[in-house]
Symmetry: C2
Subunit: 146 residues, 2 copies
DNA sequence: AATAATATATGCATCATGCAAATAGGAGCT
DNA sequence: AGCTCCTATTTGCATGATGCATATATTATT
């Protein structure tokens, strides 16, 4: 677990969460920022979010929640007495809130990067010329600007 | 729409490249779309790109190039006679061009996802009054229902 | 000769993920 | 009672990508 990243002057322990490019962990923290939930509910809720169309693997979700709890980003209590198996209800901590904000900052940065990539892509003229869609042999003379 | 995301109805051969959230492989293909280059040059060029501030690990770059060549996205020829060690000059193939376009589509989709996440984040009131955005002290009564 | 820069490649440990499967409580059905 | 399904969490295992160090070779510089 040796981290090679920044010297521990700030919460560099967060680097593990900030370097990721996916939105699973941010989505979990964001949902928990709205209201406490248990894992199964989080999985279902994530399926409805527009930024997470991939159906989440339960194992990944639960393991991430565990790790986040180990890192003090969330806390959990067992909720029994209800129908079905016991549920572990997670809620966000202040530290998790801080990380969520950093994730948002990170998301803005990645959005800029994607923007830069797309700009450069648009300005690059591909040798193929047009944009042949898959199995679309229809190929007329499109605008050839050069 | 909980559908399996598959922008490519093609075999999942490309899925390996499209699922990634990082911009290393797209960056490599984009650079090669502009002009043939060898690995070392690609590493240096990537360092100057605005969407890739992280300095690339040579091993990762070379291994990615190798894999891309195995998958027919790029091809390479040895270039000798120049000063220094021989260089393996890569150039994009038609297939690589197709994938690059799919990566761009993918990047647009991820941009939308980031946008959606950030929108939801902005609309979420954090308990801590963490003031994620400066000067937004507006705070209404937040009702918690049991 | 020693060193540094160029240029590519390999070995190894780590780490996160996907998939499968185990465990377990409760509800509904025959 | 048996059976199945949904809920809910957890663990095991293989895979695959990455970071880091290191090895190799060529050329220029000191």
């Amino acid at each position: 677990m040796p981290e090679k990243n920044s010297p521990d002057s700030e919460p560099s322990e967060y680097a593990v969460y900030l370097r990721g490019e996916q939105l699973l962990q941010p989505g979990l923290l964001l949902l928990l920022a709205r209201q406490p939930m248990h894992g199964y509910e989080l999985i279902q809720s994530l399926s409805g979010l527009s930024f997470n169309q991939e159906e989440c693997d339960p194992a990944t979700v639960y393991r991430n929640l565990r790790r986040m709890e180990d890192d003090g980003l969330v806390r959990s209590e067992w909720q029994t007495g209800l129908s079905g198996p016991a549920r572990r209800v997670y809620h966000l901590t202040t530290e998790g809130e801080r990380l969520l904000e950093m994730m948002a900052t990170n998301a803005r940065r990645r959005r800029e990067q994607l923007e830069a990539f797309l700009t450069m892509f648009t300005n690059t003229r591909l040798r193929g010329g047009g944009v042949p869609l898959k199995e679309l042999p229809l190929r007329e003379e499109e605008e050839e600007k050069t």
